[in-house]
Symmetry: C2
Subunit: 282 residues, 2 copies
């Protein structure tokens, strides 16, 4: 387990960084927070989630575990500028939603005395900012560790420890390629669908004619426009393939409807219902 004496620093106290700080605080750890927004630091201090914090990168000095909750490109840039402040032997991790590009770029520039272990807590939400921070959602969320052959047991175990401290439901390991492929499907494609649905109509009366289906499918259309174009572009090969695959499936359904092929539609529905049961009621 992570020693209570460890210095843990979180860089970027947005929705996820703030939730991490709260989770570590609740588990009895002292957290240092770094954020460029003074209001965010003030809020985190007032809530006692961080014991010290500010915008100065120097605050990261002597940290045993450094967690970046920055957007992917900003994260790489931060390391480029501030990695001389990181303690030899310390462990660096992240929360970004795409992995190949982040891992490649970090491994290329990072001082070999620091070890980077990539993590993806699947607990993003359709809001941004520390005021929405909430570590309770971790208990129903998945945590994915994305090691490479460069990672040591020690760093991988630290990633498991972080997931355990924050009480994530399930912890899995995926290699960077599988991670980005799967995320292109279960997360990014879903966001493209929600955005496309919202682009289809601006009828203001629509809200009076909708059931839960449309509300469910478009919840994530409430999206952080500063983060998501970056995530889409960093994973464009996978995401474009997933969009193509979905169009194939939708065209197949379209053809079955056109042919009034009830039997084949039933088969698809029974299969979908069976598969969906694994994911629980919601």
């Amino acid at each position: 387990m992570i020693s209570r004496a460890a210095k843990i620093t979180i860089i970027g106290l947005g929705l996820l960084g703030g939730s991490y700080a709260k989770g570590f605080f609740n588990a009895g750890y002292r957290v240092t927070g770094i954020d460029i927004d003074p209001g965010t630091i003030e809020y985190a201090k007032k809530m006692h989630w961080i014991s010290e914090g500010g915008s100065d990168p120097e605050l990261v000095r002597d940290s045993d575990i450094v967690i970046s909750a920055l957007y992917p490109v900003t994260f790489v840039e931060w390391i480029r500028q501030n990695q001389h402040l990181l303690k030899p032997g310390s462990i660096l991790t992240d929360v970004t939603g795409i992995k190949r590009k982040v891992i490649d770029e970090i491994n290329e520039i990072l001082d070999p005395q620091i070890e980077f272990i990539a993590c993806h807590p699947m607990a993003g939400r359709e809001f941004k900012g520390i005021t929405y921070a909430d570590c309770n959602q971790f208990e129903t969320s998945n945590f994915i560790i994305v090691p490479t052959e460069k990672n040591t047991e020690r760093a991988i175990n630290t990633a498991y420890d972080i997931a355990r401290v924050l009480k994530f439901r399930t912890v899995s390991e995926l290699n960077p390629e599988d991670h980005d492929r799967i995320i292109g499907f279960v997360s990014q494609l879903c966001h493209v669908i929600a955005l496309s649905l919202m682009s289809m109509s601006d009828d203001p009366k629509l809200v009076d004619y909708t059931g839960d289906s449309f509300r469910d499918l478009t919840r994530i259309a409430n999206i952080n426009e500063d983060l998501w174009p970056e995530l889409f572009i960093c994973n464009k090969d996978n995401l474009m393939q997933e969009i193509d695959d979905l169009i194939v499936q939708m065209t197949r359904m379209r053809d079955l409807i056109d042919e009034e092929n009830v039997e084949e539609m039933k088969k698809i529905m029974i299969e979908a219902t069976t598969r969906r049961k694994k994911f629980g009621k919601r």
Copy 2:
């Protein structure tokens, strides 16, 4: 308001018919229930939602208001066989999710002494059967009345009264063409998406790698395979058009990702976020 002395008969006590029976019972009305399944009738009686019931169509005699909660094709067939049992001057309504075809067929065969007013309570769920009946959900659901020029004030008012007794959140009127076009978008297209997503992968490990997005977008993939092919086919012109329109939007997103056009993606995201806010948090 509907007189407490009125005889109200519900035909088909599934998820929606059962919820209607419960809602009318809670509001102090006596309900007669007709269902081919003896277990369903027994359950509804045990819960006191119906005061009399059985499988015999004769039970509909002397009803002032007859509510069909049958599937569209079955509903038309029931009327064809049993409309001689309906009382002159009585009002007939339904809960089906598509309207042009149902209205046309019913109006063609229905005795002019009976008036049919089409209604669509948008409170379907991903479960079927009376054991999932729940009238509380009506308070957060929309109710659409679909009158034609043949309808009288009296019948339209009765539809409003039903929505009021059952405590629906919003009641709107749409003509049959607009209803089917909008439903093709907000409901049927969403179901085609959910089914297509579930067709894309049968990786049993997927459940450990998903966040809320995928769970939200596929909740309705848990679908009643006896009902939905019929709904899709009855509205195929609209639904096929909506599938085509979605493919256009997704292809546009795909192109923007391919071009790494961050500015245009941001515009779409900001627009989507603004539009989505009207639909509330969920």
